[in-house]
């Protein structure tokens, strides 16, 4: 297209873009107009006379063609010129920045990008020779910063990340005081740090330094697959089922299914498959596995290399997961002795990560406490203060009527979820949900299901047995991965015995997720298990009164562990991400050494109200054992939120401890981990990022080139307002386009006349 334009208009578009059109007529304007007017009169005279053969329409058309032809002639006689600023030879500097990152090793289509860069801008390159005739050329290599080099042979293409913004700033800093005609950036477009590009571009625009970009590589690489993201929970409990949504991008593999696995320090802990959608779209799959070992775990999600795949470095993605091995405490408050208590306790008996403290009302004002930590725990019955209740991470409410709670306790339970961030699980029973009088209470607000109606009366006798069926969300939920030993999940659910329901709940709240539903004997469908977020925490409703049937029923083998798996996983999930009063997170959890990482700490008192005036310190323990203390400041944006930035210098897993105190009294402490190392950023989105590069060039007044068009650079770079320049006038009157237009108008008139039968 550019060639056609150049043929018609004599110069390439870029010359017009950067120049100004002007006229330098050889005669005065009045003389020109006089000549043209006389010519017009002579030319139009034949058409002005009335002729029997010519209709008015023909006369107008023929006259217009002749006037236009005269107009073109007048334009040429006015001698149009293009005024452009061109550099003064050898008076200006030109910076050539060559990408030194690992992605330049990618061979697409046939040889590495770095090799192409060397061919284009190496010492023997004609482009460099041409540029050197006009400029003082300075070479730089860049990755996470720019570095002056002699020739491209010094570039190793081993940078692990690309910081284009910082690199441009570096070069501008070095050449900024010199007459700088522009910069040529030779890259595949990777800018994979958090440094924003805009400030660097603003500086270049202010200095009128055009950035010309030579984009290398293909925008789309065929038969390529990449693990784009893995949504791992920040924290899981040891031995818990973990569900991770893994997103896989691709090109040229639409419709294919590829395997994917999860590795924990090289050991495969989970496998799955992902079906790849059409090009340009990513496929997502849910991987379920068990987090067995406590501590900070580096999980790797891997798609094995495909046959013929050029880039395999992006087939894996590492994420850090905190696996808690401590015991999480849950309070189970039950209003009546029933077999759910027994079988729930049995189900979690061997679980070292769960402590379920049972407070069982065995009679009016008579309670049995089980698995308490000491003789004082729950000595006064159900916790009467927020401080006491908020010590637990989870709360299970059984068949206990609302009227047994003072009004503030119901509000307190609601706060337990919304403010404390605890996990609430409400079980079905004769005194639960609407039948227990919870309609319109603060607890009803916290529930994920809609409950209506008054408490159950003496004659209330609703009872239905339901076949439990997982919804699609339930099938994928980590708490409901009950199949063991390679059992087919569908078969497992199908084989489970019916459960019974006393609370006919049929509707979940907007935003809640229905995980299990029950098909009753009368054809009705009931909610069996649903959950939703409520404030900082989560609330679940489990409607059946007898999940123990999945342990005791005649159809269930004694060695079957479905019931144990259900309760262990459900309760683990309930308390899986429940915060402590003081906690800390690192964002992102994996970075390259030298990359800033942000720590955010949440600091609250024992009632989980955010504390703003605390002294908060993060201590980072590097793999070598070196410690660094960083004071954290209140963000002001949210109560109890503190922030600090840290730049890791070492590779490996770093432990981050946070401690908070107020007036010398400890508020608590927390720990997290972050990992520093090669995150393979250079191979994420390995195609050339043309939109970014075009934008970079356009914003600074430069041009975008490919390897094929880079030969135009010497001329284009010369036309610039930057540096020491002179004005150059270039004639436009002899543009082939004008002659062709004139020819066309005259020819058109002739053809029209012929068609109308005129001489």
């Amino acid at each position: 297209m550019d060639r056609v334009f150049e043929f018609l208009f004599k110069y390439r578009p870029v010359v017009f873009e950067r120049g100004d059109v002007s006229f330098q007529p050889p005669w005065p304007l009045w003389a020109l107009l006089l000549v043209v007017s006389i010519g017009a009169l002579i030319a139009l005279a034949p058409y002005a006379r009335a002729s029997a053969k010519l209709r008015l329409r023909d006369r107008v058309a023929l006259s217009a063609l002749r006037v236009l032809a005269l107009g073109v002639l007048l334009f040429c006689l006015a001698r149009p010129i293009l005024v452009v600023a061109v550099v003064v030879p050898q008076q200006n500097f030109l910076g050539i920045l060559v990408d030194n990152s690992q992605s330049m090793r990618i061979a697409d289509p046939d040889r590495p990008r770095g090799q192409i860069a060397t061919e284009l801008f190496g010492p023997e390159s004609p482009i460099v020779s041409a540029l050197s005739e006009r400029f003082k050329v300075r070479f730089f290599s860049f990755a996470d910063g720019a570095k002056r080099i002699g020739t491209l042979h010094e570039v190793a293409f081993d940078g692990r990340r690309t910081d284009l913004a910082r690199s441009l700033e570096d070069v501008k800093g070095e050449l900024g005081s010199l007459p700088l005609a522009g910069l040529i950036v030779v890259t595949d477009g990777g800018h994979n740090t958090a440094t924003p590009l805009d400030p660097a571009l603003l500086g270049l625009k202010a200095g009128k330094v055009p950035v010309h970009v030579v984009g290398l590589g293909q925008e789309r690489i065929d038969r390529e697959v990449e693990v784009l993201r893995a949504d791992v929970p920040t924290m899981v409990m040891a031995g818990s089922a973990v569900a991770v949504d893994v997103t896989v991008g691709h090109s040229g593999l639409a419709g294919q299914t590829v395997p994917i696995r999860v590795e924990d320090e090289g050991r495969i802990v989970g496998v799955g498959q992902v079906q790849l959608p059409r090009d340009g779209e990513a496929g997502t799959t849910r991987l379920n596995f068990t987090a067995e070992t406590g501590g900070a775990r580096r999980l790797r999600f891997v798609v094995p290399p495909l046959e013929g795949e050029k880039i395999v470095e992006n087939n894996s993605l590492d994420r850090v997961v905190e696996v808690q091995s401590g015991r999480q405490k849950i309070l189970y408050y039950e209003g009546e002795p029933r077999f759910e208590v027994k079988f729930l306790r049995r189900a979690i008996e061997g679980d070292e990560n769960l402590q379920v403290v049972v407070l069982l009302r065995t009679a009016q004002d008579k309670y049995l406490r089980l698995d308490v930590s000491d003789s004082t725990e729950l000595a006064s019955g159900f916790p009467g203060t927020r401080e006491e209740l908020f010590r637990y991470k989870g709360l299970v409410l059984g068949s206990i009527e609302a009227s047994s709670f003072p009004p503030d306790q119901l509000r307190m339970i609601s706060d337990f979820v919304s403010r404390r961030g605890g996990g609430l699980l409400v079980l079905g029973g004769r005194n639960a949900f609407a039948e227990g009088g919870y309609t319109g209470t603060p607890l009803a607000d916290a529930l994920p299901v809609v409950i209506e109606g008054p408490p159950r009366g003496e004659d209330y006798d609703f009872f239905d047995e339901v076949k439990v069926v997982p919804t699609p969300a339930g099938s994928a939920h980590p708490a409901l991965q009950l199949a063991r030993g390679g059992k087919d999940p569908a078969t497992l659910w199908d084989a489970l015995p019916q459960l019974s329901i006393l609370n006919p709940v049929t509707e979940v709240k907007p935003g809640a997720t229905l995980l299990l539903e029950g098909r009753g004997g009368r054809g009705d469908t009931y909610v069996v298990l649903a959950h939703h977020r409520f404030g900082r925490g989560k609330a679940l409703a489990l409607l059946p009164q007898d999940t123990w049937m999945w342990q005791m029923h005649a159809d269930v083998a004694p060695e079957d562990s479905t019931h144990e798996a259900l309760w262990q996983q459900l309760l683990r999930w309930v308390v899986s991400d429940v915060p402590d009063p003081v906690s800390i997170t690192a964002t992102p959890d994996r970075v390259e050494p030298g990359t800033p990482i942000t720590f955010v700490a949440q600091v609250a008192d024992s009632t989980f109200l955010g504390v703003n005036g605390a002294e908060v310190t993060a201590t980072v323990v590097a793999p070598s054992g070196a410690q660094e203390s960083i004071p954290m400041g209140w963000t002001v944006e949210r109560d109890g939120e503190y922030r600090a930035t840290f730049v890791p210098k070492e590779e490996g897993m770093h432990e981050v401890r946070v401690a908070a105190s107020r007036a010398g009294n400890s508020l608590g402490s927390g720990t997290t981990h972050m990992d520093a190392g090669d995150i393979g950023a250079e191979f994420r989105g390995p195609g050339m990022r043309a939109p970014l590069l075009r934008s970079l060039a356009e914003q600074t007044g430069g041009g975008f080139y490919t390897a094929e068009t880079a030969s135009r650079l010497p001329e284009d770079v010369s036309i610039t307002e930057a540096g020491a320049t002179v004005r150059e006038e270039r004639d436009l009157w002899d543009m082939p386009a004008l002659f062709l237009l004139l020819l066309g108008l005259i020819g058109g008139e002739w053809a029209y006349r012929k068609r109308r039968g005129l001489p």
Binding site: K342, F343, A363, L368, A379, W548, A554, V556
Partner: protein
């Protein structure tokens, strides 16, 4: 440290009185003429064996019956002939009385509309995790029954063995080992938490059953994996008959103190079985 602690007091006055109050609580109080020693509205074993209650999720009493010819007392006898059917003794009055008492005294939701009598190989037994068996001196099981009962106990079922004494032990032990071949039947003392799950029973010495020829009552048990720190699967009332006390609690036939103790044991067994 993990331990269970009972809150509140057992209500000694109530404990003493409920045996007497049972006269009023029992919904279908019998005419005075019927309230004397002897069989009142007890069922024929054939009728008792037909007792079926629809599953409702409420606590429903399950009585196990046995029907195979068995050996007891040195000679063979038919298990289902009137007069020899120890499994049906006190049926259904004992269970009805017990349901009434637990409804009045506890938060348990009992099924007062009916009870179950099932054979050990009936798959329905798994819907009722507490089972009661009477007079195991006559007890016998087919292999299928023994296997089913083993599964029942392994999965979490709880068995109350009652109403036997003296030489009956040998038959009971033999049958129990048929069910659980590796079982160790161990004697329990008052310190076990089953005796403190609802009522605090401070002594087991007051429970001598008058029909046991003055033999001192003993309490035995079988633990899961024979580990006393684990769940008690079977409670054995030897030289004792708490079912009899439940049955006759609305009469003066059995001393009220003993009736009280029988109810306390029964309630404790149920609360324990629902929590352990």
């Amino acid at each position: 440290m993990r331990k269970g602690v009972m809150l509140g007091t057992p209500g000694p006055v109530a404990a003493l009185l409920f045996g007497l109050l049972a006269l009023d609580w029992f919904p279908a109080a019998q005419p005075l003429a019927a309230q004397r020693f002897g069989r009142r509205d007890l069922m024929d074993p054939y009728e008792c064996a037909e007792l079926r209650a629809a599953y409702s999720g409420k606590f429903t009493f399950l009585r196990l019956y046995y029907s195979r010819p068995n050996r007891a007392g040195g000679y063979f006898r038919r298990g289902r002939g009137w007069g020899w059917d120890g499994w049906a003794h006190d049926c259904p009055v004992a269970e009805r009385h017990l349901m009434t008492i637990i409804e009045e005294l506890t938060s348990i939701a009992p099924n007062r509309d009916g009870s179950n009598s099932l054979a050990a190989d009936d798959p329905e037994i798994f819907k009722y995790p507490v089972a009661y068996i009477s007079e195991p001196g006559q007890w016998a099981l087919t292999d299928a029954e023994a296997l089913n009962l083993r599964k029942y106990l392994e999965k979490g079922g709880f068995l109350i063995v009652d109403d036997f004494n003296g030489r009956d032990w040998f038959n009971f032990e033999e049958i129990m080992l048929q069910v659980l071949p590796n079982a160790h039947i161990v004697r329990l003392d008052q310190s076990h938490e089953i005796f403190n799950s609802f009522f605090y029973i401070d002594s087991l010495d007051r429970l001598t059953d008058p029909t046991s020829y003055g033999l001192p009552s003993e309490f035995h048990g079988i633990f899961e994996d024979n580990d006393p720190s684990k769940r008690l699967m079977v409670i054995v009332n030897y030289n004792n008959d708490i079912g009899d006390a439940w049955e006759w609690s609305d009469t003066g036939y059995i001393p009220v103190d003993l009736t009280n103790e029988a109810y306390k044991l029964g309630i404790n067994y149920l609360v324990y079985s629902m929590t352990h």
